[in-house]
Symmetry: C2
Subunit: 510 residues, 2 copies
Amino acid sequence: MKSSPAVLPTRLLTILVLSLPLNVAAQSIRAYRQANEHKILQELVSLLTIPNVAADRANIQRNADKIMEMLRQRGVETRLLEHVRPEVPPVVFGELKSPGAKETIMFYCHYDGQPTDSSKWTDTKPWEPVLRTNAIEAGGTIIPFPGSSEKISGEWRVYARSSSDDKSPIVVLCTALDAHRANKVPLTANLKFFFEGEEEAGSPHLADILRRYKDLLKADIWITADGPVHQNGQKLVFFGCRGIVSAEITVYGSNRALHSGHYGNWAPNPAMWLSKLIASMKDETGKVLIPGFYDDVEPLRQTENEALAESPDYDRTLMKELGFAQSEGGGKSLNELINLPSLNVSGLSSGYVGSQSRTLVPATATARIDMRLVKGNDPQRQVERLKEHIRKQGYIIVSTDPDRETRVKYPLIAKMTTSDGYKAYRTPMNLPIAQKIVGAVQSVSSEKIVRMPTLGGSGPLSLFAEFNDAPQIGVPIVNYDNNQHSENENVRIQNLWDGIEIYAAIMAMK
Amino acid sequence: MKSSPAVLPTRLLTILVLSLPLNVAAQSIRAYRQANEHKILQELVSLLTIPNVAADRANIQRNADKIMEMLRQRGVETRLLEHVRPEVPPVVFGELKSPGAKETIMFYCHYDGQPTDSSKWTDTKPWEPVLRTNAIEAGGTIIPFPGSSEKISGEWRVYARSSSDDKSPIVVLCTALDAHRANKVPLTANLKFFFEGEEEAGSPHLADILRRYKDLLKADIWITADGPVHQNGQKLVFFGCRGIVSAEITVYGSNRALHSGHYGNWAPNPAMWLSKLIASMKDETGKVLIPGFYDDVEPLRQTENEALAESPDYDRTLMKELGFAQSEGGGKSLNELINLPSLNVSGLSSGYVGSQSRTLVPATATARIDMRLVKGNDPQRQVERLKEHIRKQGYIIVSTDPDRETRVKYPLIAKMTTSDGYKAYRTPMNLPIAQKIVGAVQSVSSEKIVRMPTLGGSGPLSLFAEFNDAPQIGVPIVNYDNNQHSENENVRIQNLWDGIEIYAAIMAMK
């Protein structure tokens, strides 16, 4: 193949530009981290040992107290933002003023974690952190935490609930403060910290708290330190989140489970009816068949389409890694699909399977559904469409278990409970302050960073935007294959190290 | 309305005939029972306190030892029929010879019970029997077991695992022997007893045991003392059972559960795919859509059709009692439907619902299916049809969890495991010895008894028939609403009392 030495191909040029050595500030941050890896890891492990399911109020308090103490050690003024009802997990709030700074940046994290079934973790327990040499899927084995003279590998992972979602960013933010202090680098913005305690429970009291402490929470931009970097490892800034609303649907057969020989195929089988109902919601390509489901979608702006076009095409690699042969969505890419509303069945339960199975016609069958929302969708309007679809399949919808009279009157009864949910949110990508943050993250990256108009996941960005009147962007740091919300949650060590450089760059950005 | 006093309507005539007082032998049996109710109840409760899941070998042995002792107290020669593998639950065998008797009657029961989830029982535990004033559904409340001077109501119920299925018949048979002995009534047939210890586990070793002890098990007729009387309370003789074969199907998404926001509606959702697969198996009326599913059905004989036509039409009453508005089966009656093969979904499981729910795309989804078989059906032929149907929906079928290579090659993968199953069986209704037994049961009934060509449930009658070369009929005694196989299993006391008269009449039939 011929090539002209006079003209560098664009891609090579990009590599050259991006491969420039780190600036001096970034170098000092890295040096600090390299000298303090054991201490950083210790602080993370210590935080991860405290159970943090939002409903476990006593342990939630222990987490909040610990995090307050961590911030105070960094000179951050802290307080708890409490709901009027004391059983609600408090927000840990912190503030660090920088002399002469004009802008205020708010960092958002949450310190609660998803509930989890301990018995499903591989050889470890959710709140007893362990170190592995790699991901379990890549053959990683458990090793002891290293002594202070041993080298720590960036490929090692810490396994524990909330190791990625979302306690690591809290520790990483604290470490970024340490590094700047050690290097005597002045921060260029006032910082605030808002660490929520019930995000994984759906943030049911967040609006109340945002309203109550509105004045305290003023900032020029909110940065969500939650979610994973790109699947290919590239650093990522996102400008929005999808919204979400959930529904649980129970359908009814007889008023008790019945012997399947004596009554099967005469008594109605709710497992079969639920299957038909769920099956009616999507076609074979995964397209949602609920009338109007895609109607309200607000089209992407030009800048957003451009960012999407630039983002890496990683789907084939990811499919292989996740172990499946064909994606849903009729050939659309993952990037396209997360800019559409979704309907996901997250649970089915009826009767018994496996060693517990018995020959019964189950009495009920239950499905759990979550619907992700994009800009334009309203949670309750989407719920109404789902309800209307269920009614069209012949059901009457009730909100509590039906009584005998209702049961003998209607052939098909669905009990449906739904969450309030919240809307999607997107910050325009060309806002000056957003551009500054993109620049800061880019400054510590050797490759071009990925800019995503929205994450696939949900976060209460729309609530923040509504109450705080400030733009919201997301700067995640953890590895994508962290098993968040599932058993065997983990964080890759190198992502912590990179994260320190990212957040430090933002704190000192020009 | 005019009526001619000279001609009695047939129905009235029937009532007159059937309302004749009990014969002398039956009267003496009733008197014995009335004088010994507390003792009978005590013996039942004592047997019900021993846990009896087939896999619990230690407790199975305690049951077998106890039942051996119960038989020996009645002068029955007993022994255990053991499998070559000692972990297999033994059969309790008994024999009682009657001088001069020409015929030998074998009574079949099983002393093991279905596994059960203790936490789902209402205020009681499966192996801690309690007495209630009525069925829970009818407002029955727990009362202490009565002192020996207190009267026992026939409407009271004993709640415990296997109270109906199938320990009560064992106690009732023993009591019938007691009553004859107390009244010095000679038995007219030699009796044998075959009490199985793993019927609820699918009788996996029954054929081996029948083969091994073939000579010992010779009899002129086998009477299955299992199953319930008619739903309207009428006494019942059945001439067959359906066969059964079970399948468990697991379908696969990604190799781990994934965040539903980041991956939902792109990564395949096995809960949705399983719903579509299950939904494809039946139409809206409950008709099975698997090609050939109804092909092999052997038509009913004329005597069987006549017996069915005479059996009570109880469907509307039952639907009201069970609390549903519309039966499956396209308008066919329960009696018609149990003479057809069935497909029942007894379990669905994927991800999480309720308080455990989390926003994930599940990694797998599993369904449990049982298929009942009628005469003409072969278990493995029916399984093949199910497999072929699943393949037609686009699946490849595997027998173990697929490896990564298989996962990334095939979009739809179903793991399927199936039981061996067994065939249906029906004894011709006009056999002389069967007629004699029908006559004996009729002799202690004030209404015309119900004769069913087959029960809806399954039992290994086909195995008995194959190995023993003897006709098989069923004479059940327990109430139909006994929650067998489910939580809150119970037996109605009056059914015990009636059962004693039924089995005693058979033991002394002319």
